[in-house]
Each structure stands twice: as C-alpha cells, then as structure tokens.
C-alpha cells in the first residue's frame, strides 16, 4: 500500500494534489489573466505550426484572413477562427484519405491511430497521433487521476475495455503507467464476477476507473454476493467515473456503500483524453449538490457556446462545448463543435480559488439526440436507417433503461406493416432477427425486440421522437 494515506494526515483532501506537485500548485495559483496569456502563447505556437503543416487549417486561416502571429487575443481568435464539425472532418478525410489534410504531422510520424465509434451513421473521424501525443494522451488521463488521489505504487483497477481504435482504449493504460500505478486492466476481458474475484485476491485496491453504468453494475454484483464494498475494499480511496449522467442520490449512495469519494472526468477523443475533472472535490458537494469538473484550460481551450447564436453562455447556463487542442500535434482540433451540452460555471463562481472555469458534474449530455449506451455513441438516425431498411416495418419505439439488476437494457417495440403482420409467425420471427442483427452491425449494440400493434405506437406529426432514456430513474441501489 502506498504511503499516501499516512502523509495526508492533517491535510485537506482538496489541497493535497497541489501540495504534492509544485507544477500543479503553480497552475492553481495563476490569475485568470496569467492563464489566458499562457493559452494565447500556446495557441499562437499551435496555429503557426498548423499554418505550415496542415492544409486544412491553413485554408481556414487564409479564408478568415488570419495570420497566426497576428492573433492579438483569445477573444479575437474565438470571434474569427471558423468552427469545425464532424461533417467537416469527414469531408476532409474523404478528400485526403485516410487522415485528412488536417493531420498536421508527417504520415510516417503517426504512432497511434484513434477513431470515433462510427455509430452516428455519418462516418468515423480518424485521428493520427505522434509518439509525443501518445504520452500527452496518457498525461490527460494521469492528470485527473493524480488530482483524484492516485499515486505511484497504488493499485488501480481499470474497468474500461483496453486497446482497439478508441482513445479511451489506450489513454488509461498510458496514464496509469505515467503515474507509476500498478494497473489491472480488467475491462472487457473478465466477467463482473471474475473481476470481483480478482479484486478480492488483490486485496489492497486503491483506485477504480469505470463508466458510470459499469460502476453501478459492479456495485450491484458485490451487493448480490453479500459483500459490502467498503468492507471488501477498505483501502480504496477513489472511484473515478466518466461517460454517462446520473442522479445525485445515486452518487451519494455509491459514496456511502464504498466509503470513499466519487470523482468524475469529462473527456473525448477530440480532447485526446480528459479535459476536465472534479480534482479532489468530489462529484457531489459536502452540501449534497452537484460538484464541478474544473477544466484543464492550459492544455485545452474550452468555449461554451449557445448552440444557435454561437455566443458564449453566461455562468450557470447550458451551452455546447467547443474545444481547441493547445498541445496535441497529430490531428489536433481547433474550435471543434463537440455537440456535447454542459452547464458552464465561471471560475468566479466555483469557490475553488483557482482561475479554472468549470462544468457541472453528472449532467453532460448532447444537443443532438445521441445516446451514450454501454460506451457506444448511438444516434437514433442510425437505428432508423437500420430498422427502416426493412420494408416490413411500419413504426417502432425504443427505450433505454436500467434493469433491476443494474444493467443498461435496450428495448425496441416494432410494429410491422399489415402485409408483414399477416405472415406466418416463423417468417415474422426471421424478419425481426434480421433487423436485430442489422442494428447490431450498425450500432454495436444488441437490443431486445418485441412485436406490437401499430396502434400501440405514437404517430409523429413533426420530428420523430422514438427513443426514451429512462436510465436516470433506474440508478437505484
């Protein structure tokens, strides 16, 4: 076991990371003006580099009449640099396969390829990362975990599946190595019961990283086995979650059951890892309200904009996160519209004493109708395309919910056309199975499909709202 617990005696938990790292202490001490000066210096360097190395960004700068060294302020940058979207990146990749003209480094310097999930139905963004970026992606995982209490020598259990093509598959492993933690990458390789068996054999687990939903599943499984988490793992200091929203009551219950703080991070492929986290403050406040994720703004420039007017929202309002990488060199994003909605909290209102802006915990969502299900980004339009590729389907409705045993379930009720409904039961069953397989192929998700009457499903007179997300109601322990 690390000595962290002993050395933390007499220190306020929220202050510990800043006492343990002089660099973090310096970043925490920056005034807002100093932080923005640092951002501007890094931004100018990034843009000057991309003006030379990236045709995509050079064209955008030239079209806007921007010279990298003539950008006088962050405000001028935010007002004049064109936004990019997923569609822009996909078009760039089509024209300049495979990485697009935005790559910004030599193709031969690409050491890691990351892709987005491809479940939007639009296509997958491709990111080519350099050797230097691989370390930076690790750092963007290590940083929030260090802030949350992880230290060299600690035992960490990573429940998120490793490897593959996603940033989330590679960043955690790098991050845990960078910190010097002893990591067990159990995600995607062991059943939940097998994970628990292993964790019990390990004994002194200090840190667990999991999606919100998987932490729920793990907790449920422990309770079913008659194990009280805080007694089974008394050395655990930190639970760290990401990816999905949750009710406050669930977070409180989790902290009670596990006997330690619940911390949260906001991250994405576009951020190259985590761009914000609760630090050591917790996903819920001592007073029982939602906590804040403080942005690592010296690494990633965040804007929170009204999705229609594209004006910055005021503190306390919800807007769309727009991100700019200040330190990533391979496939960097510059003013990229994430589509993620978040409640913005100005640094002035955080009470943390730092000049870092923040977003609210547990409520990051989407401005489009994308659903995050079991780690997959799923757009209803992609499901529509799969389902309605079968002429036998008249209408459908779906819901995502948390089952009694804590698992995320997806239920779809299908109404067939009159002609298809009149077919033999075996023929109808074959159609439904084929639809199910097509959905799996397009979204990576198996769903439970049941047949119903057309009259049982709603009529959509304007925009179809076929999906209901009932997971928040389901997080009950």
């Amino acid at each position: 076991m690390s000595t962290h617990a002993q050395t933390s005696v007499g220190r306020d938990a929220a202050d510990i990371p800043f006492m343990d790292s002089a660099r973090l202490a310096r970043l925490a001490s920056l005034s807002r003006g100093e932080l923005e000066s640092l951002q501007l210096r890094k931004l100018r360097h990034q843009l000057a580099r991309l003006h030379v190395s990236s045709g995509y960004y050079r064209r955008r700068m030239n079209a806007a009449g921007l010279a990298p060294d003539a950008i006088g302020s962050l405000d001028a940058f935010c007002k004049s640099f064109p936004l990019s979207s997923k569609a822009d990146f996909l078009a760039d990749q089509t024209e300049h396969a495979p990485f697009g003209d935005r790559l910004g480094i030599s193709r031969s310097d690409v050491a890691l390829v990351n892709m987005t999930g491809g479940t939007s139905g639009q296509g997958q963004e491709i990111y080519g990362r350099s050797q230097r970026d691989v370390h930076m992606q690790g750092y963007y995982h290590a940083l929030p975990w260090f802030l949350a209490g992880l230290r060299p020598g600690d035992i960490a259990v990573n429940c998120v599946p490793s490897g593959g093509l996603t940033t989330g598959g590679w960043g955690p492993g790098e991050g845990l190595r960078i910190i010097g933690a002893t990591a067990f990458h159990v995600g995607g390789t062991l059943s939940t019961d097998a994970k628990i068996d292993l964790m019990l054999r390990i004994g002194e687990v200090n840190f667990i990283y999991a999606s919100t939903n998987y932490l729920h599943t793990l907790t449920e499984a422990l309770l079913r086995r008659g194990l009280e988490p805080k007694r089974a793992f008394p050395t655990l200091r930190t639970l760290f979650i990401a990816a999905e929203g949750y009710p406050i009551e669930w977070a409180q219950r989790i902290e009670t059951l596990w006997g330690c703080r619940l911390q949260e991070g906001y991250g994405s492929t576009q951020c190259a890892g985590f761009g914000a986290s609760t630090c050591a403050d917790g996903a819920i406040t001592r007073a029982g309200g939602r906590g804040l994720m403080h942005m690592f703004e010296w690494e990633t420039l965040f804007e929170v904009l009204h999705p229609t007017t594209l004006e910055p929202v005021a503190s306390g309002e919800t807007g769309e996160l727009v991100v700019t990488n200040l330190a990533i060199e391979g496939s960097p994003v510059i003013r990229f519209r994430t589509g993620d909605s978040a409640r913005f909290i100005s640094y002035r209102d955080t009470a943390a004493g730092r000049a870092w802006n923040a977003i609210e915990c547990g409520t990051v969502g989407r401005f489009d109708d994308m659903l995050k299900i079991r780690g997959n980004n799923v757009w209803p339009s992609a499901i529509d395309a799969a389902v309605f590729s079968y002429g036998e389907v008249a209408e459908y409705a779906g819901r995502v919910y948390t089952s009694a045993d804590g698992k995320t379930e997806i239920e779809m009720r299908l109404a067939l056309t009159d002609a298809a409904a009149a077919m033999e039961p075996a023929a109808r069953e074959r159609i439904i199975e084929a639809i199910r397989a097509t959905i799996k192929e397009r979204t990576n998700l198996w769903m439970v499909l049941t047949q119903c009457q057309r009259s049982e499903l709603p009529e959509f007179s304007y925009k179809a709202r076929r999906w209901k997300d009932e997971r928040q109601q389901g997080y009950r322990l």
Partner: protein, 64 residues
Amino acid sequence: MRNAKEVADPTARDHATLSRMLADADTLCGTQDALMAGQYRFLRGRIAALLALATPVDSAESAP
C-alpha cells in the same frame, strides 16, 4: 554544467535537463540502425512531451 538559475529553480533545472535530453535524443534518431530507429523516436516523443509539460508556466517559450 548548471547555471545559477537552474540550481535555484527546480522547474528551470528540469526544463534545462529535458532540453539537453531532447538534443541527445535527436542525435540518436539519426541512427542508420532500422531496429533502433523506431525505439529512439519513441524515446524522443516521450522526452518532447515531458519537455512541454515541464516548461515553466511563465516562460515566453510555452509552446506545445
């Protein structure tokens, strides 16, 4: 040889050390040994990232 500022300021010292290491890694990357070349580039990438992360916050050279 460390200068007085490096001795007095650990951040400046670390940055100077990493700068020298990056120059050495660049030299290694010039190898004609194809087996070692990728490993030296791996090493150089790690040093370059650490150099960026260890750059003094107040430095005019706060480049990515």
